[in-house]
Amino acid sequence: MNSFLFLAQLGVETAAPHVEGFAYPNEQHVLWSILIVIYPYITGLVAGAFIMASLVKVFNVRALAPVYRLALLTALAFLICAPMPLLLHLGHPERCLQVMMTPHLSSPMAMFGFVYAWYIMAVLLLELWLEYRHDFVRWGQTEPGLQGALYRLLTLGARDVSPEALKFDEKLSSIVTLIGIPSAFLLHGYVGFIFGSIKANPWWGNVLMPVIFIFSAIVSGIALCVFIYTELNWFRGREVDDECLDEMGKFLFYALLLDFSIEGLDWLHRLYSADESIHVLKQLAAGKLFNTMLVGQLFCGTLIPLLLLGSTQVFRQQIPRFVRRRIYYFSALLIMAGVLLMRWNVVIGGQLFSKSLRGFTTFKFELAGQEGWLVGLTLMVLPYLILWLFLRVFLPAKYDKVGHSQGPLHSAV
């Protein structure tokens, strides 16, 4: 047994062909791979979708009311999947509760558990419950069988639907949304902080990191809502609400513009201050990350959508509706891919160069295995499946027309 272990060690002695220049032995293998790329991507979508929903509640953007529930359900479906990449990456998912039982302030993992629990229970579920309670009571009376029983159960026994009670729901819900925005920032800011706080890595250690992560999260969340809203209407054979879609397109454009500006500023600042790491970072951007960063993230994921969406802002009247719809849909897809690539560039990119700033290693993406792209793909598809289930139960086609966020609408008048 021991000699077996020993022979396994002997396997690693020869020259490493995937290393260029000078790299310390412990830098030659990329340890944070696809799962750690997907994790901030998914939490970003959650935070973004929630912030998009809060536009309706807090900022009273009425045109977006048709996607209010959709956005919240989307956030929930993705939130359920958010910790999965981490659990899979660490192995031993059955031990995950331990960190919550004996938490320590110096453990970001434990704190994430609490932020996550707070966010899912005190914010998302609460907000959804308040939004849906009225309907649960109604549907519980009309729906037969199991589904009806589920609705009745979900009222938690609070069946009072008098105007005062509904008004109270609303008040509470606005408060929850207000608490929700900083919570969403916290949830996703935490992700940026994981990278931003690593001082030893010039690609990551940057106070702007949480801000950059949050803005790209908002962008990707709105894009996700555009995508899902379009798909859902197509699937249910319904006309999209163009006013709503135009409004989402507007917010998508401005959010993307902001995101682009902040990331641009970050680069300008790095280039101008030109500290000792700048050479290796430039080489990284122009070399190993050329395709994913300059072509993928910047050109396809940012500049093209900016042009497309920008044109709908400037020439809205001249562009026919159906073209606008395609533009929004297509831009949303590009943006989502761009943000995924951004996560890739941050996570993988930060591990490709040596701390000596004089060498690179290579990341090889495997097919199967714990960190393979099959697992990655499964994790990316899973939230959509969960969402599909949610939509069947909580946004059924027959209620969808009347059901969406009547709350803020009748309260606002």
Binding site: A15, L97, M101, L156
Partner: protein, 151 residues
């Protein structure tokens, strides 16, 4: 006059919150390991568990008992700073029962420490495999226990 009453939704939420906090507190009682916090923020029993793991190394002194000649040879040569088991691997079972023979070492094993690598300290002797007698076995020229002696 009606007394101000808690809205029913709020009552449910308060109850639910209490239930969650209650569940968490109960779960903590059962899921916190027994010896947690005995010495610090970790399981006290972890120390014993680690200590009770069977050691796999025996140490160079143990080898000296039976391989005194090799030991003497080694301590006179440049590999003196390298312990027997750094090359031969953990060998406690062999010390207890010499019939369990250590694994044979191949040539590639020298390269583990001597392959040229910019990350290694410059004073450590390193060779470039393509320049240093490629395609020949290290042990055809070098004596493992006395590397500065040639065969």
């Amino acid at each position: 006059m009606t007394s101000p009453r808690l809205p029913p939704q709020l009552l449910r939420l308060v109850l639910l919150t209490l239930a969650i906090i209650g569940t968490y507190s109960v779960a903590r009682v059962f899921l916190t390991p027994a010896t947690f916090g005995q010495f610090g923020h970790y399981r006290g029993a972890a120390l014993e568990e680690a200590a009770s793991r069977p050691p796999v190394y025996a140490g160079a002194k143990a080898c000296d008992e039976c391989h005194g000649d090799t030991f003497a040879q080694l301590t006179k040569a440049r590999h003196r700073s390298v312990s027997c088991e750094a090359c031969h691997g953990p060998n406690r079972p062999h010390v207890k029962n010499p019939d369990i023979v250590p694994a044979k070492l191949t040539d590639r094993h020298c390269v583990r420490c001597h392959l040229a690598d910019a990350a290694r300290p410059a004073k450590h002797r390193q060779i470039n495999l393509t320049e240093h007698y490629p395609n020949e076995k290290c042990l055809e020229c070098h004596v493992a226990h006395q590397p500065n002696q040639s065969k």
